[in-house]
Amino acid sequence: MAAPDTYPRPWRDQTDPPFIRIKSITKRFGDFAAVDDVSLDIWQGELFCLLGGSGCGKSTLLRMLAGFETPTAGVVEIDGQDMSRVPPFARPTNMMFQSYALFPHMSVEKNIAYGLQRDGLGRAEVAGRVAEMLKLVQLDGLAKRKPHQLSGGQRQRVALARSLVKKPKLLLLDEPLGALDKKLREETQFELMTIQDQLGVTFIVVTHDQEEAMTLSTRIGVMDAGRIVQVGEPRDIYERPGSRFVADFIGSVNLFEGEVEAAAPDFMRIRTAEGGILVPPEAGFGSREKVAVAVRPEKIRLSREAVGADNALTAVVEDYAYMGDCTVYKLKLPSGRVVSVTETNGFGAEPFTWDEEVHLGWPAAAGVLVRG
């Protein structure tokens, strides 16, 4: 039995009112709709990721929340307050910029203090809060440095400290880890989560990195061409992609195109070039409809002998890539389609090699039916 889930997920039952309401917001630049009729509810304390490729409108949406862009239509409400007529300097939000935007002529300390001074806080209180913030981001000794004397990781922390010091209701982060190298990025991800947890501030993070979104977020909103195509917890997005685009964008996936052949109460059969593929029943798909079955590479089992599985195919190893913890196989099916399969490199298993014939199998439940 799983342990009881005490992690708060207000979006599931929706009894609490959302903290941020985005109501059918649109932003047009000329004829081009950068953000097209997006509605989104975000709850207090969430770490919400807006995920999408470049030009999908995620940054424009973030800038509308910060007040740097005026929506062509639609309303943003933060904590029940309509933000339409509130200029950026008066919003209860702060933003961490992709370029960090540290003021080059000010020391670390002055950068962090800038926002507090604008609020007219006393000298002692400003100094206290700055020191507190420096401690939180572990930059105690660097208060007097100028931004150009810091490493990339340190700059990132200063930017974070500066955007958090005013205790905003909502923190907007534009690709917060984009400029860091891989190892630093992974460390910083967890730090970001810890800090967010400690302060309880609601975060909205824009990223194009799906791994980052998976690790960080309570929920993800996947964006494409100015629209939100799916909103959900990372597991939902990954396991139950709502569309071919999402399945393809998040992680790698094998897509078997075909059409609905038969629908039974406990399974559906899809006719594809590879034969009939069984998937769990899904409402809203009619007979003969063009669909695709999405199967994640790690959900397919490989073996040398034929195994009894809901879906079984044979293939030849065309190529493989040894990644350390796992091996990715490229397998050629008789139909000519190449399928990728990820095998964990456990203990004792003999790896498959080029041109070897292998049996593939996966349970019906591992496949997801998407339109397309």
Binding site: P88, F89, T93, Q98, F103, H105, Y114, R162
Partner: protein, 261 residues
């Protein structure tokens, strides 16, 4: 082949510095004849400081240069801000063209057109009354502003827009953002723009000749009129002093730059 580069470099240096060196050397010439060496003397330096015409002209030139450089920085920065930050607006191409026109316009035309403007303005509105320092300052501001605008524009284009947004995001209003963030970030461009304008104004002969009046001869005008009557050695002395000041200025600037780094 190994000597090629040193020789080329040496020739280059000779080409650049021989005229200056000969000028400095001849400023210590005893003889009144500029081209004949008559022994070492510093008398022309003394002569120079006793010549009220040159001292006056020097003061006038410095005053004009300082005032018009300052005005040019103020106006040029505003023009650059408008051109870089305000996006496309009605009349932008005209403004952009007018701002950069003095860069490419022959000085004679700038001078002549300003003279015509001043004359007809005096006739119509009575201001500026006559030609003098004021008209030179206005004229110099006009063409120096173009240079300042170009220098500041390129700095503004390079500036990360998100710096200003970040300041606004942290609670600063637009005016505050300008003085706290924009101005300090573009300050190096303002300084170099000012120095450039100052030098251009100090250097200008043509435009000043058109728009000056009695009693407002600038240093280049005085030097030019002196030389027309035959080169006198005190001009050499003056030129040597100017070179000394410029060299000192460049040295100090280089030191300051190194310290900053």
């Amino acid at each position: 082949m190994r000597l090629f580069l040193p020789i080329v470099a040496g020739l280059g240096f000779l080409f650049l510095y021989v005229p200056i060196a000969s000028l400095v050397i001849f400023s210590f010439n005893e003889s009144k004849l500029v081209t004949v060496w008559g022994g070492f003397s510093t008398k022309w330096y003394g002569e120079l400081f006793r010549d009220p015409q040159i001292i006056d002209a020097f003061q006038i030139s410095l005053t004009i240069a300082a005032i018009s450089a300052t005005l040019a920085v103020a106006l040029g920065t505003l023009a650059a801000l408008v051109l870089v930050r305000f996006g496309p607006f009605w009349g932008r191409p005209v403004l952009s063209g007018m701002t950069t026109a003095p860069l490419v316009m022959p000085e004679v035309i700038t001078g002549l057109s300003l003279l015509l403007l001043f004359v007809s303005m005096e006739r119509l509105v009575g201001w500026p009354a006559g030609r003098g320092m004021l008209t030179i300052i206005i004229a110099h501001t006009v063409f120096c502003m173009a240079y300042v605008a170009v220098v500041v524009q390129s700095r503004l284009v390079d500036m990360d827009d998100s710096l200003e947004e970040a300041a606004m995001d942290l609670g600063a209003r637009r005016v505050r953002v300008f003085f706290d963030i924009t101005l300090p970030v573009i300050a190096p461009a303002l300084i170099s723009g000012w120095l450039l304008a100052f030098t251009l104004s100090l250097d200008d002969l043509v435009v000043a000749s058109f728009v000056s009046g009695p009693g407002s001869s600038t240093l280049p005008m005085v030097i030019f009129s002196k030389v027309r009557l035959g080169v006198s050695p005190d001009v050499n002395a003056l030129a040597s002093l100017i070179i000394l000041v410029v060299a000192l200025g460049i040295g100090l600037a280089a030191l300051a730059m190194r310290k900053r780094r």
